[in-house]
């Protein structure tokens, strides 16, 4: 007779169930590389403004974006003492929008997409190049099976124009010591750095206590408001562009050059604003200079706000299917800006009762630190030195299937 308690049978009978939470998400699963142009509000009245500006201008556009910097990197600061903080913030935003519009930034970005020459001729070189670079491994394979071949990938580059963005950062530098000094004695509670940094003005951070100054020590907080704009590009605009403005070097049509110069159909659409900050502690042990600290904080704040925008706006988020579950792998890598420890949620696409597709999270996986795929080469070129053809993740293997979508969380 077999005892019912036989452990093997018990294990055998255990049912494992997992539940996911639904996300209201009907966006397309397709991920395309975005092209990015970053600017900052220049404020010469503030401390270290030059340093912040230099740091910003010299910092790189993150690897996962196409660099679409056109020319200027700064937008002038709006000064108006008659306005309240909130009003000034709103006015600054309008001033930025106004600046982008009057300086024909949208048109300049279109001109960059189509490689406009000094004579006014366009070509498709950059679009082809980005089309190839955007192509996933899967796209390349399908293209190779088709009659058009890899030309298909270049053609797809045109789709990327829709994903062109402008981010305007409005940095604000705060010396923690100063804040604390000012606040000393006013209140006894200790405030968090977050609220300190989030405050619009130094004077508002009155909840920072006197002891706080000693505990927080020396350091800097860089806060940034980032305004996000998107280049408007649709079939209608594309059609006007190709029919009325398109001309090529070697056979320049002066009327078309003039028509483009005078055109006002190109615009940037305001999408939203996000705020992020970075603080750097400076203690007596730190060997770093103030300049070094501010540089680091500026980069950190800028990165943080970009990350926040990515979380907030679906089009920025990297998405890709799981290639296999053993090992957990996916065909994304340095090209998509992957870093060790990056967290990805594993999603299952589910058809809900209304017949719409939504994503359910079934788990979280992490980028394995030793196995990040370097896919930063053009898809049409042969990559000779290739030991790893995918990035490996760590996580629970048995919960997932190949083909499930993974999406960046942080």
């Amino acid at each position: 007779m077999i005892k019912l308690t036989n452990p093997i049978i018990i294990i055998f009978c255990v049912c494992i169930s997992f539940t996911g939470f639904s996300q209201d998400d009907t966006k397309t699963a397709e991920y395309r590389r975005s092209s990015l142009y970053t600017l900052m509000v220049s404020d010469s009245t503030r401390n270290f403004s030059e340093l912040i500006e230099d740091t910003f201008i010299n910092s790189k556009i993150p690897e996962k974006f196409n660099n679409h910097i056109v020319s200027e990197r700064t937008v002038p600061k709006l000064y108006d003492n008659t306005l309240s903080k909130a009003e000034l913030k709103e006015a600054q935003k309008s001033a930025i929008t106004e600046y982008l519009s009057t300086h024909d930034i949208a048109k300049a970005m279109v001109a960059k997409w189509f490689n406009r020459s000094e004579q006014g001729g366009f070509n498709m070189d950059l679009i082809s190049e980005r089309g190839f670079y955007n192509a996933t491994d899967l796209d390349v394979k399908i293209a190779k099976n088709s009659e058009r071949g890899t030309a298909m990938l270049a053609d797809a580059g045109e789709e990327l124009i829709k994903n062109t963005f402008v981010i305007v950062n409005n940095f604000k530098y705060t010396d923690k010591e100063e804040v604390a000094q000012k606040a000393k004695g006013l209140l006894s509670s200790i405030s968090s750095v977050a609220s300190l940094a989030g405050a619009d003005d130094v004077a508002l951070a009155s909840d920072a206590a006197g002891e706080g100054a000693e505990i927080l020590g020396k350091g800097y907080v860089i806060k940034t408001d980032a305004h996000l704009y998107r280049l408007k590009w649709n079939d209608e605009i594309a059609s006007i562009f190709y029919n009325d403005y398109w001309t090529e070097d070697g056979q320049i049509d002066d009327d078309k050059v003039k028509a483009f110069d005078e055109s006002n159909i190109f615009e940037l659409e305001y999408i939203g604003t996000q705020m992020a900050w970075a603080d750097l502690q400076s203690t007596s042990f730190t060997k770093k200079t103030d300049e070094e600290l501010i540089t680091i904080a500026t980069i950190k704040a800028s990165d943080a706000v970009t990350a926040k925008l990515q979380r907030e706006y679906e089009v920025f988020r990297t998405k890709t299917p799981l290639l296999s579950t053993d090992p957990l792998s996916a065909k994304i890598g340095l090209k998509e800006g992957l870093e060790k420890g990056d967290k990805y949620e594993v999603l299952e696409q589910v058809l809900n009762d209304e017949g719409k597709t939504e994503y359910k999270r079934v788990g979280v996986i992490k980028v394995d630190k030793d196995h990040i795929w370097d896919n930063r080469f053009n898809a049409d070129e042969e990559n000779t030195d290739q030991s790893l053809e995918y990035t490996v993740f760590s996580g629970k293997k048995n919960k997932f299937y190949a083909g499930m979508l993974i999406r960046q969380i942080n």
């Binding site: 088709s146 597709t357 190949a402």
Partner: protein, 173 residues
């Protein structure tokens, strides 16, 4: 007594896995038997073949992938597809008379058997990877999965012509 337990357990597990394997296989075949799938054109393939995305339905997502190839060949023979993006033109099924499937049952049964001759006429265009958005859970227990495959339609048509299932363009002359 303890040894007996162990032996019984091992036997039980062995029995279960073998039954399970058999059941799984039958399950997969069941999904294919009713030929439930959708066929889409995925672009203009090289001369003599068709590049299609085949959506298969299955309770087990693994089956849907492995059955996709079989479904794609079946689709080219019996279903065809409407046009679509990327310059796709409509494609009429190689066999226009659906009764032929029943009439030549013996041939098609062996052709579509596991590991059957159909495998010679189809290959995965993506080395088995599934594009984002092509793996969908459509109900509590069912998946819809799309894979992109390349079907050698010219070869397939010649086979069917030589088997007398369809007539060639020059038959009668």
């Amino acid at each position: 007594m303890k040894l007996k337990h162990v032996i019984l357990s091992v036997l039980f597990i062995g029995f279960c896995t073998s039954v399970n394997a058999q059941w799984k296989k039958n399950k997969a075949n069941e999904d294919t038997k009713i030929w439930r799938y959708d066929l889409e054109c995925e672009g203009i393939a090289k001369q003599g073949s068709k590049l299609v995305k085949v959506w298969s339905y299955s309770k087990n997502p693994k089956h849907a992938i492995s059955r996709g190839m079989k479904n794609a060949v079946h689709g080219i023979i019996f279903k065809g597809y409407a046009g679509g993006g990327q310059g796709c033109t409509p494609f009429a099924a190689l066999v226009s008379d659906p009764a032929m499937e029943e009439k030549h049952k013996e041939f098609f049964d062996s052709f579509f058997a596991d590991g059957g001759a159909y495998l010679r006429y189809v290959s995965s265009a993506t080395d088995g990877s599934i594009a984002p958005g092509d793996r969908l859970k459509i109900s509590k227990r069912e998946y819809k999965i799309g894979i992109v495959v390349n079907v050698l339609t010219d070869q397939l048509r010649k086979l069917l012509e030589s088997e007398g299932i369809i007539k060639s363009l020059n038959s009668g002359f």
